[in-house]
């Protein structure tokens, strides 16, 4: 069989990607996996207590189970405290400071790029 959809190949000079073949194979894979999934038990449990939010040993309301978004990167900021704490000090809220940083970084980048 000929490569009928070869026109979609993206060539970067180092690598290649053809999204059409990927989508085609993904579609076939979806059918295979969905067949396995479909063979599974079809009934869904609807018992009230089993489906309710559970926290700290008791059934509680939906609002009380909410986890704050500020927790998301806790592990990350905790591990890289050495970087984040000094960075926070730089966030003074003064636009003049931010513009100074911008000019400083721009100057360094221009020297680096121009020098190289």
């Amino acid at each position: 069989m000929m490569d009928l959809i070869d026109f979609g190949t993206l060539e970067t000079g180092y690598g290649v990607w053809n999204a059409l073949y990927w989508l085609l194979s993904l579609g076939v894979l979806f059918l295979i996996v969905y067949f396995i999934y479909w063979r599974g038990e079809k009934t869904v449990k609807t018992s009230k207590d089993q489906g309710r939010p559970f926290l700290a040993g008791s059934v509680t309301s939906k609002e009380k189970t909410h986890v704050k978004a500020s927790n998301v990167y806790w592990g990350f900021t905790e591990a890289l405290k050495g970087y984040y704490v000094p960075s926070q000090k730089g966030h003074t809220g003064n636009v003049n400071d931010y513009i100074s940083w911008f000019i400083l970084v721009l100057a360094v980048m221009m020297i680096l790029i121009g020098g190289l």
Binding site: M1, M2, D3, L4, I5, D6, T9, E11, T12, G13, Y14, G15, V16, W17, N18, Y21, W22, L24, S25, L26, V28, L29, F30, I32, V33, Y34, I36, Y37, R39, G40, E41, T43, V44, K45, K48, Q50, G51, R52, P53, F54, L55, K62, T65, H66, V67, N71, V72, Y73, W74, G75, F76, E78, A79, L80
Partner: protein, 328 residues
């Protein structure tokens, strides 16, 4: 030709990925048990687990976003299995010239993203905390993983001039070990260690099973999953082990043995595939079984530190050594 491969290839890789993934899981559990002086379950236990999960009723939490909650397990298995189409499994990848390592790097993220979206959709606080931890882990290990892969391809580009350097077919047919000097060889060993370190965290196995952490957050990401939904995630975890080990084999140990036998072509395919299975099993044994037996679970901030500082520095040293190998 490639249309045919795109249609029939998924059947081949789905069988290989799911069957051997579950088999490796079974062997891993036995070896893990033996190292702890236990008998352990039979090798078929993961197959029995999947069968049991498929006949169990599916429970959807009251506040969950139903369609996302049910769709993500299927998408997770689909996306992780599709990676096998681009990895040499002892023979040429089925879509060898239609996707490269950059694509694989992105596809590797999809199962983790499916897990996170499914966990957030379940509305469980345990699952939400698990999903948050998974996000932090992802941004921790992606950088050293990318540095390792880019370093190897960059070094390869200094030896060969080809327009498909990033495809695994090219990399696996042009092993770097024979092309580099002393500095390069040391650099490659360091990059191999980095990649072996990334495998357990990519698979969320002990000591990096923080997003699931049964004893802390009751299964985390998977806390609300049951029945066939859990079976899908269980199988995608098994396939991911084959994918990660296959990636290490293709990058570092792509050698075949069929040329020494002079057997008919179909037997050559079989023996090279068998050799591939042996190599991937050794990789899984070293980076998953031994590690999860020997270590206890890290905390999430420790994982971030390990991957952003020592492992990233190691991968950059590997890159530097490959650079020195070129200029000296």
């Amino acid at each position: 030709m490639y249309i045919l491969r795109s249609v029939l290839g998924p059947f081949v890789v789905a069988f290989i990925g799911i069957f051997f993934g579950l088999l490796y899981k079974g062997v891993d559990r036995i070896l893990h048990a033996r190292m702890q002086k236990r008998v352990g379950p039979p090798v078929t236990q993961p197959f029995l687990d999947v069968r049991k999960l498929l006949i169990k009723e599916n429970l959807v939490p009251e506040n969950a976003v139903d369609w996302l909650f049910n769709l993500m397990p299927v998408l997770s298995l689909v996306s992780v299995t599709s990676i096998l189409l681009y990895i040499p499994l002892g023979f040429e990848p089925l879509l060898s010239t239609k996707g490269d390592l950059i694509l694989i790097l992105y596809l590797l993220m999809l199962p983790a993203i499916c897990l996170m979206v499914g966990a957030f959709a379940s509305s469980s606080p345990y699952a939400t905390v698990g999903a948050q931890r998974e996000m932090v882990m992802m941004i921790s290990y992606e950088f050293p993983l990318a540095v390792t892969i880019i370093s190897m391809v960059w070094r390869l580009s200094k030896v060969h001039a080809a327009s498909n350097l990033f495809t695994l077919e090219y990399i696996s047919t042009h092993p770097l070990w024979g092309e580099v000097g002393v500095f390069g060889a040391i650099g490659l060993v360091i990059l191999l260690v980095v990649l072996l370190t990334v495998i357990p965290v990519e698979l969320s196995r002990v000591p990096f099973d923080i997003p699931e952490a049964e004893s802390e957050i009751a299964g985390g990401l998977l806390a609300e999953y049951s029945g066939k939904n859990l079976a899908m995630f269980y199988m995608s975890d098994a396939v991911k082990a084959i994918v990660m080990a296959g990636l290490v084999v293709a990058l570092f140990f792509p050698y075949t043995i069929s040329q020494y036998f002079g057997w008919p072509l179909y037997l050559e395919y079989i023996i090279d595939f068998a050799f591939f299975l042996v190599k991937t099993f050794i990789i899984v044994f070293v980076s998953v079984t031994v590690v999860r037996t020997a270590f206890a679970r890290y905390k999430i901030d420790q994982v971030t530190y390990v991957f952003w500082v020592p492992v990233t520095v190691a991968s950059l040293i590997g890159l530097l050594l490959l650079y020195l190998d070129v200029i000296l």
